[in-house]
Amino acid sequence: MKALSNSVCIVGADESDELGTLPHKSQLSLHLEAVRNAVRDAGLKVSDVDGVFTAGQHSPATIGEALGIVPRFVDGTTVGGCSFIIMVGHAMLALHHGLCDVAVVSHGESGRSGVGVTPRRDTALPGQYEAPFGFGGAPTYFGMITTRHMHEYGTTLEDWAQVAVSTREWARLNPKARNREPITVGDVLNSRPVCYPFNLLNICLVTDAGGAVVLTRADRARDCAKKPVFVRGAGEATEHVMLTQMKTLTTSEATRLSGAKAFAMAGVGHGDFNHIMLYDAFTSGPPIMLESLGFCKPGEGVRFFDNGRSTPGGSLPINTNGGGLSYTHSGMYGIFPIIEATRQLRGECGARQVPNCKVSLVNGMGGMLSAAGTLVLSNER
């Protein structure tokens, strides 16, 4: 595992040309724009890519074909929104062993406009045991985790609202963020009730967006256009798909395992990070992830969002792109925290740049904390 640490680098990272409401662009177009932009960011050509990693509705074969290349390594592991985070680890393995030389992890999703999208259908399990009761759509599931957390630890609606406020403070500094007006805890509590315990501002955006990152081995990374970002550690795990099968609703076993693996590979501890990206489909996600990753005891995750600690100028910046809550969330958000961490580690973030950003944590979930992917990224070996 130690041999893998720092063996590969993220050398390119970018979004599709536009993010937001894009009824004029198909899902496949969002992929292709993102790949072209990320490859250009790396100072490489699309024809250099020989490893294609993607999750969602399009197989890596479709992406390879549309790009006009013949990849010699492909991976289509689809375990929810964190799949792209997991794929950085998979790309690391393939690159390290010489199974490919330039890997691209690609995401494109017309999550809002549904252009070029195959309608989703229930698989046998949710269709049989959940849909007849009105379940369907992430808020009808993640609220279960959230309500139980409030019951066990006394977490309040105000605590969760703080996460939305903190994340919005970052979005205000990101020109690409969709929602940039400041909000208060009161605004969150008074926004439209959707599914208790969530009001509208507790729930991520629904957008059309693409994103991609390019990886290559550390020796080759030196020749790319930008400062390389080393993958120091990577972890993954899956626990469940049906929420009734999750052992403890308030702690994610997949997240715990994924984090432990990534931290061990990287040789880092909780105190070593100066920037954190957490998948925020809901305001309760990031605090529960911090708890499951071992940053604090169960029930204390929300304290990371108190007193401006996580906001611009705070001691531990979290979700500096404005997150799924305020920047963009196409459905499978996991590529975007990787892009933001890469930019922060390169020092490209302008008004929202975290000073002396050296070690960044990216942690995402798939489904309802069902799967997890964790990366430890750094601009130093």
Binding site: D122, A124, L125, G127, Q128, Y129, E130, A131, P132, F133, G134, F135, G136, G137, P139, T140, G143, M144, I145, T147, R148, H151, R192, P193, V194, C195, Y196, P197, F198, M242, L243, T244, Q245, L249
Partner: protein
């Protein structure tokens, strides 16, 4: 008559005793003969010890409200029950958890609490399909 909920589908072969039981107002659960533990959803392999000798037994229909949500808008297009309604995760006395709705109580977060005792209510949809809903234990039917 138009149904206000989607029918469970597809009914998978390993779950037939469960759906057959509900039609007769019995909550049937699978249990592993090797380790003695009940589980849900039905499957051909025990998720605890991976034994394959599975039996069915009639559960009590009692449990606790493990967690809940109140839907103020309908998110699923095929679900036509008028909001607000309570989405519930039930932990049965026998151990397994299942999704359902909590009925027979005002859908108000001040009146509903995790861990409140609940009991099954059989909700007939068609001659073939009856769903397990839950109400606060001891509530009038």
């Amino acid at each position: 008559m138009e149904l206000d909920r989607p029918l469970p589908q597809p009914i998978t072969p390993e779950a037939k005793p469960y759906w057959d039981g509900l039609r007769e107002h019995k909550l049937m659960l699978p249990r592993c003969r090797a380790c003695g533990r009940a589980f849900f959803y039905p499957r051909v392999l025990c998720p605890f010890c991976h034994g394959q000798d599975i039996e069915w037994f009639q559960a009590s229909g009692r449990g606790r409200l493990y967690s809940f949500e109140i839907a103020y808008q309908t998110i699923s297009r095929t679900f036509k029950v008028k909001p607000p309604y309570v989405l519930a995760m039930i932990e049965l006395t026998e151990g397994p958890r299942m999704m359902s709705n909590l009925v027979g109580i005002e859908p108000d977060p001040k009146r509903i609490a995790c861990d409140m005792p609940v009991e099954i209510v059989y909700h007939k949809m068609t001659d073939e399909i009856t769903l397990p809903l839950f109400q606060p234990a001891g509530a009038a039917r």
